[in-house]
């Protein structure tokens, strides 16, 4: 089981506590308390998941998130004390897959971490096509008109979930459950932001999407028409 978790947090007590919990659940945590050093540690340890506090000394969490995302599609879960839409959306747009608002329960943290790490281990060979986008599910690769596209695992999962049932409309709540693994519909802002990020990568014109289409008042669906 992949289980290397990088905890980027400047609060020593919280980091230690997170360490205790993560170890208790069988993960291997590593720690960094400084935003400036976060990238070095990230490159050294090559974690499977990053737990990132937004308020950091040195480089702040948003910038760290952007830099990690520039290099890797590793799942990033933000820890934030602010639940205002502006803060949440800013964090998600900088590349985070999910976020947890402090204070949180250890159960919730572990559930989210597991949800981000739970990958279908041996997917059946399957190829999906929407428009000119081809998805190789087993190979975790996406191509548009023969050109490979670089999607994060979350974006990939989102696209696959939509593409498996083309023309079916998915509500944001259903997507939250299928892609993020939330049992109860929580925050539909997650879906909105990630659909936008996905479109930015796969659509010819993200302003007029043809692959992931908005169904007003309901949700999203794959494919034209």
């Amino acid at each position: 089981m992949k289980g290397r978790v990088l905890v980027v947090d400047d609060d020593a007590a919280l980091a230690e506590m997170l360490g205790i919990v993560l170890r208790g659940e069988g993960f291997e945590p590593t720690f960094v308390a400084d935003g400036d050093r976060a990238m070095d540690v990230f490159r050294d340890t090559k974690p499977d998941l990053v737990l990132l506090d937004l308020m950091l000394p040195g480089m702040d969490g948003i910038d760290v998130c952007r830099q990690i995302r520039a290099e890797s599609g590793v799942p990033i879960v933000m820890l934030t004390a602010k639940s205002d839409t502006v803060d949440v959306v800013l964090g998600l747009e900088s590349g985070a897959d999910d976020y947890i608002v402090k204070p949180f329960q250890s159960k919730v943290l572990i559930a989210r971490v597991r949800a981000r790490l739970r990958r279908t281990d041996d997917p059946a060979p399957e190829t999906l096509t929407i428009g000119d986008v081809t998805i190789d599910v087993a190979g975790h690769s996406v191509q548009r008109a023969g050109e490979p596209l670089n999607l994060t695992p979350l974006e990939f999962d989102l696209l696959v979930a939509l593409a498996r049932k083309p023309r079916q409309v998915f509500t944001r709540e259903v997507l939250l459950e299928q892609v993020w693994g939330y049992r109860h519909a929580a925050d539909t802002r997650l879906v909105n932001v990630h659909v936008q990020r996905l479109r930015a990568k796969i659509e010819k014109d993200p302003e007029r999407p043809e692959i992931v289409v908005t169904v007003r008042g309901v949700g999203y669906k794959a494919g034209p028409g």
Binding site: A13, L14, M17, A81, P103, F104, Q105
Partner: protein, 636 residues
């Protein structure tokens, strides 16, 4: 001049005719003009300038009329005196001429007639009609065969046409002639008589005097020329008078404008200032009273602005502090919470005391967290940082979804929450998260204070608004408390234990949430009758509310006394459903609580249970419809 007076009179009358309170209803036909009059009246009452101008118009019209009248009197008197003098001169000349004719010194004879005619012709003016002359005999010598009058000469008719008063005066003078050679004075009178062939009588001065032996000479001076002069003077005076009146009104208008315009500006400025435009200032010009007004207005505005800014800064600092504290608390709280989770998870391995401690810590941490969340939310409202994420949502769904926690509490207490929801969806543009929070707060509140009786939730919708009312049948609210419930950390009874662990901020936040929607959150309560919380939200985000589809207070006591209907099930008919919410609740309450309710109240008066019903169901006075009902609109 009469004209000017009349004009003034007319304006006075129309001034009087300005509307006064009309007691009787006008007929529909009149209502149009009535409305117009009222509009004029409103204008008149509201405009100082209009009042001043009207008053000036009326007063100056009166003054000018009086002055003009006096002036005219004077002029006319002068003109008449002048005319009388010149007429007398002409007459004297004529009389002297006639007296020099020797024929008339003799007693009348056969030639007299011709002589009189000749004299009259001589004396009459050669052209024009400035005056006319007649020569006649004293009355006793008149009559045939002698000449009898002026038909031959022209302007008189027969002698009797001459006014008797004048002829007798002239005769009197003639009779005096012998006495000591006293002079025979000419007599005159203002008369109106036909001149020449014209049948129309003309006003003029008639002068007569005896001459010669038995003769009389009469001159008639018509007033035509003078009348013309007077008329033209009158006309000029009238025009001048009207011009003066309107000029004065115009001057009054201008002068009051100088005063009124700055006052209006000041009023406008004050209005804007009170509306929040604190940068509002008045222009200070010169150093007169108006300038002083402007200067002190500006001073006031400046000091107000300063004070407000001070307060703003102060509260900004305070809000920032609270917000920072809340955020700073979150990180250590997270650590504590996770630590508590770990300890709680391991409590089986501990002794009884540490294990119970871990449980207590766990539950109290939850409470602490809720309080912190609420504090943060309130501080967000205080900092005006709350934003509305409105989207079209079915509010019925939200009401049902947000009932979960309250439902659990109700189940633990053995009560029910009854929903009366319209069959069709109630779509409104609302912020889902906030409305869910409001509903959770109201429901928890109702179950917690419901005294183990059921809670009734009613949803209704009309074209402009959706409303949700949450009714409980608990202790209710004392007068004045309906407003206090929205205060932060307010408790009806400080000694009462909180069972659901509410923070005391729930209703305050709910009120702010409702206000953010432009909606209302209102409370009604009565001791012993329970309470109602009604949330009304506009269906279109930002629209103004004018009413609620649901009544706030339930029907008066009397109407629900026999309201027990065993068949009353859950009513899925919220629209206009004015059936007292108590009906169904009473039944289910009685069913559920069973014997336990017996010592609280008899069935059928269950919702009366309380101080007022202590002596039994019949103890309610008939006039105690809403004995101490408190109904307060906490509207945003």
């Amino acid at each position: 001049m009469k004209g000017a007076a009349a004009a003034g009179d007319a304006s006075y009358r129309s001034w009087l005719a300005r509307p006064r309170p009309v007691a009787s209803r006008q007929s529909p036909i009149l209502s149009g003009s009535h409305r117009w009059l009222r509009r004029v009246g409103d204008r008149y009452r509201h405009s100082l300038q209009l009042r001043v101008v009207t008053a000036t118009l009326i007063l100056s019209a009166v003054v000018v009329s009086v002055l003009g009248y006096i002036l005219m009197q004077h002029l006319v008197a002068g003109i008449y005196a002048n005319m009388e003098q010149s007429s007398t001169t002409i007459f004297d000349n004529g009389r002297t001429y006639a007296g020099n004719e020797t024929t008339f010194g003799q007693p009348p004879g056969s030639q007299s007639s011709a002589a009189m005619l000749a004299l009259a012709q001589d004396l009459n003016p050669s052209q024009g009609t400035q005056y006319a002359v007649d020569v006649t005999l004293v009355p006793q010598d008149q009559g045939p065969p002698v000449y009898s009058g002026g038909e031959a000469v022209g302007f008189f008719g027969a002698v009797p046409v001459l006014p008797a008063k004048l002829t007798s005066a002239v005769l009197n003078e003639w009779q005096n002639r012998g006495i000591g050679g006293a002079p025979q004075y000419p007599q005159s009178e203002w008369v109106s008589m036909p001149l020449g062939s014209s049948a129309r009588p003309e006003p003029g001065l008639l002068i007569g005097a005896p001459f010669g032996s038995v003769y009389e000479l009469y001159y008639f001076f018509p007033l035509a020329a003078e009348q013309q002069t007077i008329a033209s003077i009158q006309q000029s005076l009238l025009v001048a008078g009207i011009a003066v009146v309107f000029l004065l009104a115009a001057i009054a208008w201008l002068v009051t404008r100088w005063v009124v315009v700055p006052v209006r500006l000041a009023a406008q400025g004050a209005r804007r200032l009170s509306a929040g435009e604190l940068d509002q200032r008045m222009e200070v010009r010169g150093s007169d009273e108006v300038a002083a007004l402007a200067a002190s207005f500006n001073e006031m505005a400046a000091s107000l602005q300063e004070k407000l800014a001070e307060l703003e800064d102060l509260s900004q600092v305070q809000r920032q502090f609270v917000s920072d504290v809340s955020h700073e608390l979150r990180t250590p709280l997270t650590t504590i919470k996770i630590a508590s989770d770990v300890l709680f998870g391991a409590r089986d391995e501990m002794g009884p005391a540490p294990a119970r401690s871990a449980e207590l810590m766990q539950s109290q941490l939850e409470r602490f967290e809720v309080l912190l969340t609420d504090l943060l939310e309130i501080s967000r409202y205080d900092a005006n940082a709350a934003t509305l994420d409105a989207e079209p949502v079915d509010i019925c769904g939200i009401v049902l979804q947000s009932a979960d926690v309250a439902q659990q509490l109700a189940e633990r207490r053995g009560t029910k929450i009854e929903f009366r929801v319209p069959a069709e969806p109630c779509i409104a543009e609302i912020d889902r998260r906030r409305v869910e929070r409001i509903m959770r707060n109201l429901l928890l509140n109702a179950v917690e204070h419901g005294e183990d009786k059921d809670t009734v939730v009613t949803v209704a919708v009309d074209s402009a608004a959706v409303a949700v009312s949450v009714r409980d049948f608990g202790v209710g609210l004392r007068p004045g408390e309906a407003q206090l419930v929205f205060d932060r950390f307010w408790r009806a009874d400080p000694a009462r234990a909180r069972t659901s662990g509410g923070t005391g901020l729930g209703l305050a936040i709910a009120l702010e949430d409702a206000r953010l929607h432009g909606g209302w959150l209102e409370a009604w309560g009565e001791p012993g009758r329970g309470s109602v919380f009604r949330l009304t939200l506009p269906r279109t985000a930002g629209a103004e509310l004018h009413g609620s589809p649901l009544p706030l207070s339930p029907l008066p006591l009397g109407t629900l006394e026999d309201g027990i209907d065993a068949t009353a099930g859950p009513v899925v008919d919220g629209l206009g459903d004015r059936v007292p919410a108590a009906d169904a609740a009473v039944v289910t309450m009685a069913d559920l609580v069973g014997p336990a309710a017996a010592d609280v109240a008899a069935p059928g008066s269950a919702d009366l249970a309380g101080p007022g019903a202590a002596s039994g169901p019949g103890a309610i006075e008939p006039d105690a419809d809403q004995p101490e009902s408190t109904e307060v609109g906490a509207r945003g």
